[in-house]
Amino acid sequence: MLEVKNLKAYIDVDAGVVKAVDDVSFSIKAGETVGIVGESGSGKSVLALSLMQLNPKPPVFYPQGEILFEGQNLLTMKESELRKIRGNKISMIFQDPMSSLNPIFRIEKQLIEAIRTHQDLSRKDAERKAIELLTDVGIPDPERRMRDYPHQFSGGMRQRVMIAIALACRPKLLIADEPTTALDVTIQAQILELLASIQKKYGTAIIIITHDLGVVAKLADRVMVMYSGRIVEEGSTADIFYRTSMPYTWSLLRSMPNIGSAGNERLVPIQGQPPNLITPPKGCNFNPRCLFAGPECLEVDPVLAERGNGHLAACVLSQREFNERKRQLEAVEREGVRG
């Protein structure tokens, strides 16, 4: 349904050109949930906004690539046609539900407006539909709550309203840009459950962008790990978590607390900073921070290569070499802890 081919999205700044999205390709099937994971500045959000064609131009430009949505290239589409897709076939929810709703209008007006932008419905019908949507996203007493202003809702409830607005036209694709980051943990779980149930009911494909691997583990069928504007590993959620093939993904997983562990396990942060995307390092972008980097990594810029069954990784190490190095390192670290 959505196919991104060799997409580059660069940002023109005073100091040079930031390669925010650099040669990214992937595809998403109808009804699928795909997680995009990466740290701040890895290009997740620029990628997401590229799919909506909502990056400010300038400074963002697209030197190369195609974004095919149902066979049409969004990059060459006219603004008026894009508007027919936005909110109708592709919609988006944001990180901060506190500022995503217009504070001076009742949510009724905002919902009905979202519905009537793309659908030829009378006010009455739109209102009925709005109530239906609010019920779907789990807002109790929707007839009354519709007449409330955004400030009368809690953060979690506002995110539900945002989801209702995003679903107003039953989009084919929902992009969720860090949908739970600003919410507290119990609410996070509720929102994730809501997204899962909505997917079941509406059959919407979801792209979930996050730096929280827990969110991805719960929701996603497939995961793409982004680092410095590129996809460095891609595979089923099980592949990413249990058959990690790229040192960056592995480092990310190690830096996360694990409920199942004995409790005395140390978290290992990733050393250093994300690379400067104006002048990326020679060779592999991750080499300055990689625990396994060898001389080859300074020379070769690895491309995504098949690791079996749709699992792709960009690393010069083969799966066997990587597992071997991992074992060695973990053995050394255990010694260190004991000594």
Binding site: R86, G87, S91, S99, N102, Y149, A166
Partner: protein, 285 residues
């Protein structure tokens, strides 16, 4: 905001002046243009409350009628420059390309003191009400556009604007339905201040002799005529002066009150008795 006595008083003064000047022809005893050469430069009395001028005309009648021109100019200038300034501010705050060029022109206009700019324009165009309105509009709209632009720059980066874009809303709709209502409060406040400033400016222009035709009574014209007699007939200057001060002061107080009412960070003590949250909800709902 009208719980506060000061604001209520200001509103009262303005209403009184407005009603008095509009209905003046119905109740004024003496015509403001009636000349009585035997009654020149008389002090305030029961017959002539504010005294008479150098042609023996009743100053009270003239002050009341003069308010018509002054308020008319004030209102029209306030409305036009607010609208023009708002449109320019909205566009330049939203479209970055237009912003640079437009704001440099505005900077150029702001470089002149408002009154000087108006003075030059009226001197060039000739002194009648239309030209004064044009000149004062040119003098005041740059300020509005600056204020609106800065408010727009703040609002346009808040997520609900981006969220609106993702639902496929077009630019004009975003500008006028999403951004404009959110920047309305500084616009209204600026409008009242411009109203006050325009009345002052009109008086200043008339006083300097480039304003409204001297045969039309305006507060500025009256002051200009009175300056010669200020030592022998002080009431001639005082009453038009007081009229200007009261009106402008009332407008400024009202503007301040509006600003406080719109300001969410204003001290909580203003919100009486009920708690802040519930009061805020009531106000908005």
């Amino acid at each position: 905001m009208f719980k506060k006595k000061r604001n209520l008083l200001a509103l009262g003064v303005l209403l009184l002046v407005t009603v008095a000047t509009i209905t003046a022809s119905l109740w004024l005893v003496q015509s403001p243009t009636y000349i009585d050469s035997h009654q020149r430069l008389l002090g305030p009395s029961a017959k002539h409350w504010f005294g008479t001028d150098h042609f023996g005309r009743d100053i009270f009648s003239r002050v009341i009628v003069a308010a018509r021109v002054s308020l008319f100019i004030g209102v029209v200038v306030a409305v036009i420059s607010t609208i023009v300034g708002t449109v320019i501010g909205l566009l330049s705050g939203y479209y970055k390309k237009a912003d640079f060029i437009v704001m440099r022109i505005i900077d150029g206009m702001l470089a002149f003191p408002a009154l000087l700019l108006a003075l030059a324009l009226v001197a060039a165009l000739g002194g009648n009400i239309t030209n004064i309105i044009i000149a004062l509009t040119f003098a005041f709209f740059p300020v509005v556009s600056r204020v609106v632009r800065s408010a727009v720059l703040q609002i346009r980066n808040i997520q609900y604007i981006e969220a609106a874009k993702t639902t496929g809303v077009s630019d004009p709709v975003i500008l006028f339905q999403y951004i404009l209502p959110n920047v309305l409060s500084p616009i209204i406040v600026q409008g009242t201040f411009i109203f006050a400033k325009a009345i002052l400016a009109e008086a200043a222009l008339s006083f300097l002799g480039v304003g409204v035709n001297p045969t039309t009574p305006t507060w500025g014209n009256m002051l200009q005529e009175a300056q010669v007699y200020i030592t022998i007939a002080p009431w001639f200057s005082i009453f038009p002066g007081v009229a200007i001060v009261l009106t402008v002061l009332a407008l400024n107080v009202l503007g301040d009150g509006l600003r406080d009412a719109f300001d969410p960070h204003a001290p909580a003590k203003r919100k009486k008795r009920t708690s802040m949250v519930s009061n805020g909800e009531q106000k908005i709902a």
